[in-house]
């Protein structure tokens, strides 16, 4: 509700008036078109068009109680109390009374300086005395006639124009063409002398004002009021004749720059555009008012638009620039280096110049990617095979990877860029501690690679450690678990060195054309490999003297009792010479019954299954060690086989060994190899005679236990290795021996055949197939038993 009839809405509720200048003002880019259409009339101001009509919206209701408030009754001197009640005048009437009250108060409180108080009051009144005498407050209603005169210096706000639709714009443009031509001619005539005589130099903005287009004058005031104040004086009286022209949509929309001759218009535009070209530098100063005057209306509009943009941008820059200079260039460099290093670490980048460093830093990932990157046919690949893959592919894949890196080119570039920074950081000796002068403590730093040490234990000298451990080594039982594990680790460390070296193998010298440098390089590599090989060989401890009386097993055999000792064999074999291999094989064969897999591989009375641990050990041995041995045996000549078999018969408890999977498979390995050699005819009869003697000895030793070499139950289906052994034996046996073989295992054969009838077809076929291995070897078939 309005109390005094005012608009009670708060300014913020009203929003920014559309007509008022400021950011809220919508610029109508087509305004000049409509202006152009009415070009001949725009030299006058039409009040109807300029009056914003706000008065019409005033709430005139709700003043019913004004009379009660201000003492005016109906019919009473309504003339004196209007809406324009003079508060000051009325208050001045009673000001004497107020003053008296004030004096009385001050006297009652006996204030000091009453005279001063009086003096203070007195001047407050001066200057307003005339109001005191004022009995009649004149009606301050605005005389409408006042507005009859055009007063362009008091700019009426531009009425909020509704934006024209596209159709309207088109219509205007069309109509404008018809209108424009005659107007143009008129203006060109009037302008021509101005331009030719003085141009647009800054000291004479409008040398001849009377010839300046009238339409421009009011619009100048729109932007620069203090300049335009003087302009009304120059306005021709004739302009008034148009002042009430009803169909003026917009008076102050500026003249039509299109109506100007094209040359002129373009020159003006170029002035206006100049600032825009400098805008980016942010150094463009706003034109001074005089310069502003020279630019045409349209140019100015454009300029002001640019100016607004520039101001906005500068404001933004200003907001952002409050943090300028917060970091020094060194700080920025530091941060950048940190980020780049992070990036290097995250991308797992290969430091192309030093693949070895990367490999040692990031060994698992790099190698894993090389191995698993390729297609892996069988996820259940045995470890030995797997390790083989790993070794073979390490060298070649590495090179491929470098070549295939075109895809992540950007990363590569980044790396190159980073490299210098990183290397510089590496080169600089890192100070791990900071001792601030005067402080008691010290600050130690750490990074991801060298974490901050929580404990600082001083290590004894390396030499000291070695000597002490060597001394201790003598004392400790060489067979102690810890010692064996350490021995295995030393094998691994020399093995890894040899593998690293093997990866670095220089290209083989090719023919006569090869450079001496390459040959030299190769020779150096060879000798290096040789040294490493010797180191590995000594680490294996194969040649430690065998003490048959000792209760402790040979160190090499002791190492084989650990799973990682078994796992190392295939990797070691790859770097062993043929003699070294046969030595290892001999060591294993001599200690066959001491091997943990043989010792623990026999079923104890009452057991149907081996303990899980020994079963796993046996699986691992047959997966890791046996293939390596077999790899050698399958190429060995007969006399080697004979030597090995002779050793077994002489030094090993054959019957016990034959009851285990590993023992039996080694026997199978040797006998089958001998038979293969015989079949290929690569032996002479004398050798074969010796072999037959050995074979007969073996047969005689094993015959009593042939029925006991089968593992526990039939159902396990694990007896395939036994049938393989029997097949190997059978194929090398004489007819008489074959007879004895059949008799020995007859029960087992029959049992398996009958059992298999109750089994599902595929399992039955598998079992019968196993038996058939043996049956076929002696010229029989399970079908005959059917």
């Amino acid at each position: 509700m309005s109390f005094f009839g005012f608009d009670t809405t708060l300014p913020k509720d009203r929003g920014h008036p559309l007509a008022a200048p400021g950011f809220g003002q919508v610029q109508d880019p087509f305004a000049h078109l409509s202006q152009g259409a009415n070009n001949e009339h725009d030299d006058a101001i039409d009040f109807d068009d300029t009056y914003d009509g706000l008065g019409d919206h005033l709430d005139e209701a709700g003043d019913d109680f004004n009379d009660d408030t201000f003492g005016g009754g109906p019919g009473a001197n309504r003339q004196t109390v209007g809406k324009d009640f003079d508060f000051f005048g009325r208050t001045a009437e009673v000001s004497d009374a107020i003053e008296e009250e004030q004096l009385r108060y001050s006297r009652a409180h006996d204030l000091k300086g009453t005279s001063l108080g009086r003096n203070q009051v007195a001047p407050a009144r001066t200057g307003y005395e005339k109001y005191q005498a004022l009995e009649h407050v004149s009606d301050l209603q605005v005389d409408q006639n006042l507005w009859g005169e055009p007063e362009p210096q008091y700019q009426q706000p531009v009425p909020a124009r509704k934006m024209m639709s596209l159709d309207e714009v088109e219509a205007l443009m069309k109509s404008q063409k018809k209108h424009a031509i005659p107007v143009n001619q008129q203006q060109v005539v009037s302008r021509e002398p101005t331009r030719t005589t003085s141009g647009y130099s800054s000291d004479t903005p409008y040398p001849d004002r009377s010839t300046a287009p009238l339409s421009q004058i009011p619009s100048q005031g729109m932007y620069n009021q203090h300049v335009s104040v003087e302009l009304p004086a120059t306005l021709p009286i004739g302009s008034q004749s148009h002042q009430h022209h009803p169909q003026h949509p917009a008076i102050f929309q500026g003249p039509d720059h299109q109506a100007l001759p094209p040359g002129l218009a373009s020159s003006q535009r170029s002035i206006a555009q100049q600032p825009s070209s400098h805008r980016m530098s942010g150094q463009q100063m706003p034109l001074n008012p005089q310069q502003m005057l020279q630019i045409s209306e349209a140019g100015r509009e454009e300029f002001l638009k640019e100016e607004a943009k520039r101001a906005k941008r500068n404001h933004k820059i200003m907001l952002l620039s409050k943090d300028n200079g917060l970091m020094t260039p060194q700080d920025k460099n530091f941060i950048t280096r940190m980020q780049l290093q992070q990036l290097m670490a995250a991308s797992g980048s290969a430091n192309d110049q030093d693949p070895d460093a990367t490999l040692s830093e990031d060994f698992y990932y790099q190698v894993h990617r090389m191995i698993r990157g390729g297609p892996r046919t069988n996820p259940q690949q045995p470890l030995s095979h797997f390790a083989q893959t790993y070794l073979f592919q390490t060298g070649s894949r590495h090179n491929n990877r470098k070549a295939n890196r075109g895809a992540d080119n950007h990363l590569q570039r980044m790396e190159q860029q980073v490299q210098r920074a990183v290397e510089a950081a590496k080169a600089k000796p890192k100070n791990k501690q900071l001792v601030i002068e005067g402080s008691l403590g010290k600050i130690s730093f750490g990074n991801s690679k060298t974490p901050k040490p929580l404990l600082n234990i001083k290590r004894p000298d390396h030499a000291e450690t070695v000597s002490r451990s060597r001394g201790a080594h003598k004392e400790i039982n060489t067979n102690s678990r810890r010692a064996i594990l350490k021995d295995i680790e030393s094998i691994y460390s020399s093995l890894m060195k040899i593998e690293d070296e093997a990866r670095k193998e220089p290209p083989l010298p090719t023919g006569a054309a090869s450079e001496p440098g390459i040959v030299e390089q190769h020779m150096a590599w060879r000798s290096g490999m040789q040294a490493l090989n010797e180191k590995l060989w000594s680490a294996l401890k194969v040649l430690e003297p065998i003490d048959p009386t000792s209760s402790v097993p040979h160190p090499f055999i002791a190492m084989l009792s650990f799973s990682k000792g078994k796992k190392v064999i295939p990797r070691v074999f790859r770097h062993m010479s043929s003699e070294q291999r046969v030595t290892i094989l001999t060591m294993i064969v001599i200690h066959l019954d001491v091997l943990d897999v043989v010792r623990l591989g026999q079923l104890q009375p009452g057991e149907t299954h081996l303990p899980t641990a020994s079963r796993e050990a046996i699986d691992l041995f047959s997966a890791a060690v046996t293939p390596s041995l077999f790899g050698y045996v399958s190429e060995a000549p007969l006399y080697n086989i004979m030597g090995l078999l002779g050793l077994i018969l002489d030094r090993v408890h054959v019957q016990a060994s034959a009851k285990t999977r590993i023992g039996l498979s080694i026997l199978t390995m040797l006998t089958s190899r001998a038979i293969l050699i015989r079949e290929t005819g690569a032996t002479d009869d004398g050798e074969w005679q010796q072999w037959t003697q050995l074979y007969n000895r073996l047969f005689d030793v094993l015959e009593p236990v042939l029925s006991q070499i089968f593992p526990g139950s039939f159902n396990s289906g694990e007896d395939v290795y036994v049938w393989q052994f029997l097949a190997a034996m059978g194929s090398g046996a004489s007819p008489e021996q074959q007879q004895r073989l059949v008799i020995a295992v007859k029960d087992r054969v029959m049992e398996t055949v009958t059992q298999s009838k109750t089994l599902p077809p595929d399992m039955a076929a598998q079992r019968l197939g196993n038996v058939n291995l043996f049956m076929r070897a002696i010229g029989l078939d399970v079908e005959l038993l059917g």
Binding site: A345, E361, D362, Y364, Y365, I371, R372, F386, M496
Partner: protein, 98 residues
Amino acid sequence: MLFFSFFKTLVDHEVTVELKNDIQIRGTLKSVDQFLNIKLDDIQVLEELKYPHLSSVKNVFIRGSVVRYVHLPAASVDTALLEDATRREAASQAAKPR
């Protein structure tokens, strides 16, 4: 760098991360960094009834320091290689002057 190197090979494998506050989160390992911060995708909280507030979470970033265990998919760990990598790490640590 061994663990970082190791976990990088497990990217895109499903792992279960056990946090020090006993929450176990299973998800696809998306990323890991040198601090062993872990990013998991398509996560699922074990014992979801106990941690209902996590039932709508789809991916997480776990700060490395709050991880107690990471349960690994055994099939994607190459133990032989890991052993070697460990040996190398130990060797380089020993070689490094303190």
